[in-house]
């Protein structure tokens, strides 16, 4: 175990967690954007029809 294990563990956790979450959020976030824009588009069209 390297010296100052607490800060070593935090550093490793940061690199591993951040790398993993970046890939995960990049994939899931792109899907979120797609579905958000689809919902907004549907609302926009519905409002245009009502007018």
């Amino acid at each position: 175990m390297p010296s100052h294990w607490f800060w070593w563990a935090i550093t490793v956790a940061c690199v591993v967690w951040y790398s993993t979450i970046t890939v995960y959020v990049a994939i899931k976030g792109a899907k979120d954007i797609k579905s958000m824009l689809a919902r907004l588009d549907a609302t926009r069209k519905k409002e245009a029809e009502e007018q």
Partner: protein
């Protein structure tokens, strides 16, 4: 001399800027209502929220100060990040404050405060939030420019022009697309920023090595470089002040809260908080390691704020340098766009509220929101870029932040959970939380009181602000019985 290569690194930066601008402008067609403009029609989901919150809360100014913390305090300098992560996880898991806030369906914090404390407090809270926020943000642009000039080795004469062009670009997509553009560009910026931060950190850990980082901190700061409680520049008061500051920021910082308010429901808002919590450890640790690496490589320097970018300018090779600069531009652009939109939302929704006796049309509302963002952009240019700030930057940031955070966090907690809280208590809390930090700052500047201010220190002054602000709320509310006007609860 830096490793920046205009052809290779310049191309990477150029492609990033082009893609961001296109994405930001493409979504403007969906904006037809003020609600869509300010809170994205409340359609934001968890992962987009995590990307947006992380990108917004990491700007170049953050990177500079957290790296400076690493350089000056060693690993212990990451303490505020750990405290903020704990606060954010606790708030996300329990829904403390953010649940009633999102359930109420408001667009800003002062709008909720009106339900409990009346119109005047809503207006006063709006003014405090905007003043604190804008003055805080006023220094972002110049600090960001300093980083880019040092890392890329640009001519300092072009700093103003370069940052003006960047701000105009950000303002254009924010004005046209509002929160939708902010969310979409934040997403791209999160990905680019994260790639740059991770790659540079791995490079530093490989080149400098863990043992050298630890030895440098041990030699320079001893046990205080690892333990904030025994560090002579930190101590328990530093830890307590940062716990209060970061908890208040998690609860009330308008750019953070904007993600809860834009979430599609309360559960999504809470999940965004728990999902982003650990990012705040990375937010301090990653640039902190860069700062420690600068200390290990450069040794003592005159300006500790500039140590990290000076070190990176020669430590990062061409190619990766382009990714680093694109990452830092991404960090800065996402912060600028979110901050401009957020303060605009408070100005429009709360400060201008008394002037809207009758509801404005969506068209008129959008026009005014866009005008306000343009005016905020002009303010940032004049105040933050063309007018150089004098004095200590950290004190400046601390004072402007505490003026807002202490009172608004007390008001918000009381609004959500204390039945007897009223406008007298709220008014007293706002006055007290503004008075103490400003008095401390004035005492620091006056020769006759400078020694006293130094003996008190910024941390005791900050802690006193939070406690006395809460005391003012309790005393003020109990002294004056609740009036008929303030009968509604949140």
């Amino acid at each position: 001399m830096t490793n920046f290569n205009w052809l290779l690194d310049g191309s990477i930066v150029g492609v990033y800027l082009l893609v961001t601008m296109i994405a930001g402008l493409m979504v403007r067609k969906y904006v037809g209502k003020v609600e869509t403009f300010l809170v994205a029609g409340r359609e934001m989901d968890v992962y987009l929220g995590i990307a947006s919150l992380a990108a917004t809360e990491f700007g170049i100014v953050t990177c500079m100060y957290t790296a400076q913390n690493g350089y000056e305090k060693g690993f212990a300098g990451a303490t505020p990040g750990i405290l903020m992560a704990l606060a954010m996880a606790a708030v996300g898991l329990t829904g403390f404050v953010i649940k009633p806030l999102r359930d109420s369906g408001v667009m800003t914090i002062p709008e909720l405060l009106e339900k409990k404390f009346g119109q005047r407090i809503r207006w006063a809270a709006g003014v405090v939030i905007v003043l604190g926020g804008l003055l805080n943000m006023g220094v972002f642009l110049r600090t960001g420019g300093q980083f880019l000039v040092l890392v890329a080795g640009l001519d300092v004469r072009y700093l103003e022009i370069m940052m003006t062009v960047l701000l105009v670009g950000v303002a254009v997509y924010t004005i046209l697309g509002g929160m939708l553009s902010v969310l979409v560009t934040d997403f791209l910026q999160f990905v680019v920023m994260s790639i740059g931060l991770i790659l540079v950190t791995i490079l530093i850990l490989m080149n400098v090595g863990w043992e050298k980082l630890v030895t440098t901190v041990e030699t320079s700061y001893g046990a205080g470089g690892f333990n904030p409680f025994v560090n002579p520049t930190m101590g328990w008061e530093y830890v307590l002040f940062n716990l209060m500051l970061n908890t208040a920021a998690v609860l009330t910082w308008q750019t953070t809260i904007a993600r809860v308010l834009a979430a599609k429901d309360t559960r999504t808002g809470r999940r965004v908080y728990t999902g982003t919590a650990f990012f705040f450890v990375c937010r301090f640790m990653i640039p902190g390691i860069w700062g420690i690496a600068a200390l290990a490589t450069l040794g003592p320097v005159a300006n500790t704020l500039e140590a990290m970018p000076t070190y990176l300018s020669t430590a990062v090779p061409a190619g990766l340098m382009g990714i680093l600069i694109a990452a830092m531009l991404a960090a800065d652009m996402s912060t600028d766009s979110s901050y401009m939109l957020t303060w605009c939302s408070v100005i429009y929704n709360d400060i201008l509220a008394p002037f809207r006796k009758r509801p404005w049309s969506e068209r008129k509302g959008l026009f005014w929101n866009r005008t306000i963002i343009a005016l905020i952009g002009i303010f940032l240019l004049v105040y933050g870029l063309w007018y150089p700030l004098k004095g200590d930057l950290w004190t400046y940031l601390g004072v402007t932040g505490t003026i807002y955070l202490a009172s608004i966090s007390v008001l918000l907690i009381a609004c959500c959970y204390w039945r007897k809280a009223n406008s007298w208590g709220a008014g007293a809390s706002i006055v007290v939380s503004a008075l103490i930090p400003v008095t401390y700052l004035v005492m620091e500047q006056l020769p006759s009181t400078a020694a006293l201010a130094k003996s008190i220190g910024p941390y005791y002054s900050g802690i006193a602000t939070y406690f006395l602000s809460a005391a003012a709320m309790i005393v003020g509310s109990l002294l004056k019985p609740q009036s008929h006007v303030e009968g509604r609860t949140a």
